[in-house]
């Protein structure tokens, strides 16, 4: 069974939990005392990941770190439909890669602001917030046009991809970092759609959505 080196409040660990919950992949969560223990920075943990960060997975001896890389691996290996990481469609695959890189940006701004506020990280908070707003504006416009095209997800296909999973936690927890989403209504509607995916699970601060309307 996959072991996930995990911290319940980490957005990057949550991305893995969400993906595995949606793909119905059983896993064992190995709690890491991220805060206040900084266990991931300790010598023992650096034997697993010399970079000293989580999440890390151990899939039957195969070790992989970096949140977005793990999403690629999980989808490629455990999604028989091939839709979450669309390797058979070069255009969709390109878009997925592009939005995964965009998600690095939201992690380094929106989620970084959250770490400053919640866990006392010493980043430039105002720069993180301004950066997040710049990216959210772009993403909101992008998703608004997706709705006009009759699409629901970040990439242009009819099915969500790992890019949605990579972006969702950074967006939906932004208010914890002092980044309101008042100006991004299309982004807010997209978070409802993600929450209604079959197999969706939340984390502290991420609540389920009401059921979609039938018919």
């Amino acid at each position: 069974m996959i072991k996930l080196y995990d911290y319940v409040l980490s957005v990057n660990c949550y991305k893995q939990r969400l993906m595995m919950s949606i793909l119905d992949v059983p896993y064992e969560s190995i709690p890491v005392d991220f805060y206040p223990g900084w266990e991931h920075k300790g010598e023992e943990f650096k034997k697993i990941n010399p970079l000293g960060h989580i999440p890390v997975i151990d899939d039957d001896g195969y070790i992989l770190w970096d949140a977005h890389a793990i999403l690629v691996y999980l989808a490629a290996k455990y999604d028989p439909s091939g839709l979450w990481y669309p390797t058979s469609d070069p255009r969709l695959l390109g878009e997925t890669a592009s939005w995964m890189l965009f998600a690095e940006g939201t992690t380094n701004t929106a989620s970084a602001a959250r770490l400053c506020v919640n866990l006392g990280y010493d980043f430039d908070l105002e720069a993180c917030r301004a950066g997040a707003h710049r990216l959210f504006r772009v993403l909101d416009e992008h998703l608004w046009f997706r709705e006009r095209e009759g699409r629901e997800w970040v990439c242009s296909g009819p099915h969500p991809t790992i890019a949605d999973i990579a972006l969702f936690p950074d967006v939906v927890l932004s208010e914890e970092g002092g980044i309101p989403r008042l100006d991004y209504p299309a982004l807010r509607r997209w978070t409802d759609r993600v929450k209604r995916m079959p197999g969706f699970e939340g984390m502290p601060g991420i609540f389920p959505a009401s059921q979609a309307r039938q018919n």
Partner: protein, 614 residues
């Protein structure tokens, strides 16, 4: 202070676009510094509420919209569509929330693809002639970190291409821009392509529409929403909907142009000192909430409703849909009833059959009683569609818990009415339930359309004899699974049997809830006793043939009441001393044994003296 036309707080402003409020979503909005939670119910009513749960002040925009109720994310308080009244407090699952728990609401009107609202808006939202005579086409809204004044000023000089000539700039065709009008919160612009400027400058607002037939001219109205002193939203509407295939290109064209405009506005705004944010005025607590309310006395018909629809919903059962003459109906919860004051002077109680938050009307079902003393006959024969009836505010003495793992609803005949409200509510919340309908025949199932919508949770039991009915009930309540509650409404004998069977099977009294149609107990009013009122410092004597309620009223002590026959629970009083002589069918056996509450309309005293908390 007399409001002047330019006072932004008395004007209507757009606060969202139609596409911002899809079903089952809560839009986060802001107007003049005040945050709003804007949500569309399944019946398409758009609610604009202060974005603040009354309980702990948490934003309602993070709550969930289940189609009829908005649920706060923090402690799960639920608020009804339209009225914004609280329908359920999870920490008090057995109680009906007070009617005074109600969020602040603002008016909402949908017009031109926008939701219009305001702090204290006067009259109707503006009528825009060029948008009246056409099919308006909404552009993407753009938030701007700048004041309304600056945004409007920049918009005046905004340029775009006509929808039919998006290529105008690339082929170096001149596009003439005409300002149709400008005011504090909107700008209307017409773009005309063609290289020749003749005529376009003089184009009247009515003329601009005719020029667009060829696609070489487009008019856009840009409304600017004052979000806060230094923040706005541009909401653009084209007066003409482009052909389906061109729409995305038109939208993208405008998005690019407006993004450029917003960048220019924000660059200038950033150079200026940031204005102070608007502090939204806190609403004063209304007098009726700030002061202890005077207890309503008697059976007050404070509402007027119109019979919007009357139809036969089952054999011998007439259904009535009651709508407000104006405004919205008061909040009700599942299990609630209203008193209907009939044209012939009688007062009768009927349960509201709507699910929680289905608040556009009250629907009631009235069975024609063969031994009617005039109530059901009057409703069946005299009251017609269009008639106005006087009713009481809804009252809930039969509240539904929404925290049971499973709920069993036993309905006998027309006893379905309160249980139908409960069933719809449980169904929407995805809480497990069974609705057992004991009816003489299929034709006796009232509100068939609603019943059918509940799917397999409904179990009809058709044409059973009384012993068979008891046998069936015995089977249904044979054991008491943990966290399961039973609600019963039906004819007296069936209800009695169900209570006995449940008690015999080990159901505790607090898991068995019931509502009788009427109290068939033979009332013994031969006793004489004293009633001391602890709070009023009064001692009264109740003689044979009098009720406590009558004596209280004669002496000016207010007590609300409804059925006045010991069935509905409205006239309950707390007993401080003495032994009540219970003659009601509202309280259960445990309550009767405890003797700490009594129904003042029929119950009396076994001791010489009762002390009531009145």
């Amino acid at each position: 202070m007399t409001p002047v036309a330019s006072d932004p707080f008395t004007l209507w402003h757009p606060v969202a676009s139609d596409h911002d409020v899809p079903h089952r979503h809560v839009h986060h909005g802001q107007l003049l510094g005040r945050e709003l939670a804007i949500w569309r119910a399944d019946d398409d009513f758009v609610n604009v509420w202060e974005n603040r749960c009354l309980h702990r002040g948490v934003r309602l925009s993070i709550g969930s919209n289940d189609g009829t109720e908005l649920r706060c994310q923090y402690h799960g308080w639920r608020y009804a569509n339209r009225s914004a009244g609280c329908t359920y407090i999870p920490a008090h699952p057995a109680d009906a929330p007070a009617r005074t728990i109600c969020n602040r609401t603002f008016s909402a009107v949908e017009r031109y693809g926008l939701i219009w609202s305001g702090e204290d808006p006067v009259g109707e939202p503006p009528t825009i002639d060029v948008l009246e005579s056409c099919a308006p086409f909404g552009l993407r809204n753009l938030p701007v970190n700048a004041s309304v004044e600056m945004t409007v000023q920049y918009l005046q000089a905004h340029r775009f291409c006509p929808s039919g000539r998006l290529d105008a700039e690339s082929v170096e065709m001149t596009v003439e821009m005409t300002v149709e009008w400008i005011d504090d919160y909107s700008v209307a612009l017409t773009a005309t392509a063609g290289g020749s400027s003749s005529g376009s400058a003089s184009g009247s607002s009515s003329g601009s529409a005719s020029g667009s037939a060829s696609g070489s001219s487009s008019t856009a109205v840009f409304f600017v929403q004052p979000v806060d002193s230094g923040r706005s939203v541009i909401r653009g509407v084209l007066t003409e909907t482009p052909p389906e295939g061109d729409q995305l290109a038109v939208l993208r064209h405008h998005a690019v142009g407006l993004n450029g405009l917003v960048a220019a506005i924000e660059a200038e705004a950033a150079r200026l000192p940031a204005p102070e944010p608007i502090m939204p005025a806190l609403q004063q607590v209304p007098i009726h909430l700030a002061e202890l309310p005077e207890a309503p006395s008697g059976r007050i018909a404070s509402l007027r409703v119109q019979v919007n629809r009357k139809w036969s919903t089952a054999e011998g059962v007439a259904a009535f849909e009651l709508v407000p003459l104006q405004g919205v109906l008061p909040t009700f919860q599942p299990g609630a009833h209203i008193d209907v004051h009939l044209p012939n002077g009688l007062i009768r109680q009927y349960s509201i059959t709507n699910g929680a938050g289905q608040s556009s009307c009250y629907r009631i079902g009235v069975k024609l009683e063969p031994d009617s003393t005039g109530g059901s006959v009057c409703l069946h024969e005299t009251v017609r569609e269009g008639d106005v009836l006087a009713i009481s505010e809804p009252r809930n003495n039969f509240p539904l818990r929404r925290d049971s793992l499973r709920t069993i609803l036993l309905a006998g005949g027309i006893g379905i009415t309160p249980l139908l409200s409960m069933a719809q509510t449980l169904d929407r919340m995805d809480l497990g339930f069974e609705l057992h309908l004991f009816v003489q025949s299929e034709d006796h199932i009232a509100f068939r359309d609603v019943v059918d919508g509940l799917g397999e949770s409904v179990v009809p039991h058709v044409g059973l004899s009384p012993p068979e009915t008891v046998g069936e009930i015995r089977r249904l309540v044979a054991e008491h699974p943990p966290h399961t509650h039973l609600y019963i409404c039906g004819p007296g004998p069936m209800l009695e049997a169900a209570r006995l069977e449940a008690a015999a099977a080990g159901w505790p009294d607090d898991a068995v809830h019931f509502e009788y149609f009427k109290n068939t107990t033979e009332i013994d009013d031969s006793s004489t006793f004293d009633v001391a009122l602890a709070r009023s410092a009064l001692t009264l004597t109740v003689g044979a043939g009098q009720t406590i309620l009558e004596v209280l009223r004669e002496h000016g002590v207010s007590v609300p009441s409804s059925c006045e026959q010991g069935a509905c629970g409205t006239c309950v009083a707390t007993v401080l001393e003495g032994e009540p002589d219970h003659q009601d069918v509202y309280l259960n056996d445990s309550d009767h044994r405890a003797g700490d509450r009594m129904m003042t309309c029929v119950s009396r005293s076994k001791s010489d003296r009762l002390v009531l908390d009145l």
